[in-house]
């Protein structure tokens, strides 16, 4: 069998199609939280770091798919820098209005970029894994799994670790444990850029039971381009805010959330959403902002601890 092409992704791109085209997806954001890089020319550290690593070939990939439309303009620009450095790059656009026909045409373009669909059965296998993912997510909300361990699995649903067997094994290695649920927290916004965030939150007695973006990674699936388009068109981050907020309201209620932590990234447009989230979501809310990757800084820990105390008072 020929060596699989390794395809970089900057955000959610249906991995079903990448596997179906016999390629191996790699979410370039995976390397960021552990990175010690100080990028030269940056707004958001997420895009700046993968841009620099790819352009300098510190990250070896055959090509890159940039999620631009309906997601992130910083990625759109940094993706073009990667393209100019000589890496084949494809730009993928989600429809703001959720039009499945538009998304279908985007998916056809994506398949053209990747080659051809050779292993259509992969979609079904991924669907099964996502079903298990949803169960894991539900178990965490019931206090049966550690928040950090579940997060690490959930965030990996964007690329399924590039290999379905490896990923299945990682899921199987999760061990049930009893977690005391004292402060049920929803983490909304983009994921924190700190590699230990969930464990730090847990050490401060805040149990994350909802991870907004990682939940999107496992929420959508489909067996072919037609069904994938009709499911992924509801990817909340690409849709208007009221659509995303309605979805959040339902999920937060279902999970009996005590409070929300809204993570925002320096120089990211999602920061502008904070006041809307605060006015529409009727829960105690802490907004934090991160910039460079690494361990959760003391200033953020202070805010988390004070937030826990505020929840105690509520």
């Amino acid at each position: 069998m020929p060596v699989q092409k390794k395809i970089g992704l900057t955000a959610l791109v249906p991995p079903e199609l990448i596997f179906a085209c016999r390629c191996s997806p790699f979410d370039v954001n995976n390397v960021i939280p552990g990175s010690k890089k100080y990028p030269r020319n940056k707004l958001c550290a997420w895009t700046a770091i993968w841009q620099e690593m790819l352009s300098k070939r510190e990250l070896k990939l055959d090509s890159l798919i940039v999620v631009a439309g309906g997601d992130c303009h910083n990625a759109l620009v940094d993706g073009q820098k990667v393209e100019m450095s000589g890496i084949p790059t494809h730009f993928f656009f989600y429809p703001f209005d959720g039009d499945p026909l538009y998304l279908e045409s985007q998916l056809y373009n994506l398949v053209d970029f990747l080659g051809t669909i050779e292993s259509p059965e992969k979609s079904g296998q991924i669907k099964e894994l996502k079903k298990i993912g949803k169960k894991i997510d539900a178990k965490r909300a019931q206090g049966k799994l550690s928040s950090g361990n579940v997060f690490r699995i959930m965030i990996s649903f964007s690329d399924l670790m590039g290999d379905l067997d490896v990923f299945r094994e990682a899921i199987n290695s999760l061990k049930e444990q009893k977690v005391e649920m004292n402060n049920r927290v929803a983490l909304i916004g983009v994921p924190p850029i700190y590699h230990d965030f969930h464990d730090v939150a847990q050490s401060l007695d805040l149990q994350v039971v909802f991870d907004e973006l990682p939940f999107e990674f496992l929420r959508h699936s489909g067996n072919d381009i037609h069904t994938i388009a009709r499911d992924y068109c509801n990817y909340t981050f690409a849709r208007p805010l009221d659509f995303r907020i309605r979805f959040l309201q339902k999920e937060l209620e279902k999970r009996h959330i005590d409070g929300i932590v809204h993570y925002t990234q320096f120089a990211c447009h999602h920061m502008l959403e904070d006041e809307i989230m605060r006015s529409k979501l009727d829960y105690p809310m802490l907004t934090i902002q991160g910039d460079l990757p690494g361990k959760t800084p003391e200033q953020i820990k202070l805010r988390l601890e004070a937030f826990r105390e505020a929840l105690d008072r509520a």
């Binding site: 907004t287 200033q299 202070l302 805010r303 004070a306 105390e309 505020a310 008072r313 509520a314």
Partner: protein, 228 residues
């Protein structure tokens, strides 16, 4: 039982004996002097070093401030704590808080920077302000640009007193963006002694600002009150 607040510059100890508040303040490096003969089981700590000193319980500065301020003003709506390194705004009624520790223009560090420029003591800023006859506009909210604007105003003929008053207004405006509307607004932290800044903030917010009798010990007292 004592409340112990060990912050980045000073350490404070508070106890309540026969209903009366007793306190002691020293430099952070001498914090041990405050607890000679006191068992860790009798200490509730707060402040930046709350977890590095002996304690039986600890509480963040934010929660300590709420309990400490309530002792003086039971109806407090909003607490503004302008410290040397950060500024905290605590909306007590809504159980919400924000901290600015990214931009020095909104913290005590900026006032220190200005005092250094004029080669005066930090505590003199208030009296300089009170002697100002006019208040020049300083529009920049960034510390570095504000300083060059202040220099331009000096060149344009304003006195150092007036420029300092203008700077207090610029500083107060920067802080005011963080403050929600409140009936009872209480100011704590190192800068409360600066009357110029206080009056600029009152003027901008159009609200009377309350200051506790002993603003320095509010957090140590609050730590104690949090558990008792």
């Amino acid at each position: 039982m004592i409340g112990l607040d060990v912050g980045s510059t000073t350490a404070k100890k508070v106890s309540i004996e026969d209903g009366e508040i007793k306190y002691q303040i020293t430099g952070t490096h001498n914090w041990k002097d405050l607890i000679t003969g006191i068992d860790g089981n009798d200490i509730i700590s707060t402040g930046y070093f709350r977890n590095s000193v002996p304690h039986c319980a600890s509480v963040t500065e934010i929660t300590a401030a709420i309990y400490g301020v309530r002792y003086y003003f039971p109806d407090v709506d909003v607490i503004v704590d302008i410290g040397g390194q950060d500024t905290k705004v605590i909306d007590v009624k809504k159980n919400n808080f924000i901290i600015n520790d990214k931009c020095s223009a909104g913290t005590g560090a900026f006032l220190e920077f200005v005092a250094n420029y004029f080669k005066i003591e930090l505590k003199e800023l208030g009296s300089f302000h009170s002697r100002a006859k006019r208040i020049p506009a300083i529009n920049n909210t960034c510390a570095v640009f504000a300083l060059s604007e202040m220099i331009s105003q000096l060149v344009a003929g304003f006195t150092p007193e007036e420029v300092i008053a203008g700077m207090h207004y610029a500083f107060a405006r920067r802080i005011s963006f963080m403050i929600p509307g409140a009936r009872t607004l209480v100011l704590i932290g190192g800068t409360v002694k600066n009357k110029g800044m206080l009056s600029a903030l009152e003027d901008i917010l159009q609200t009377e600002i309350q200051v506790p009798d002993e603003p320095q010990i509010v957090n140590a007292l609050g730590a104690l009150k949090y558990y008792y």
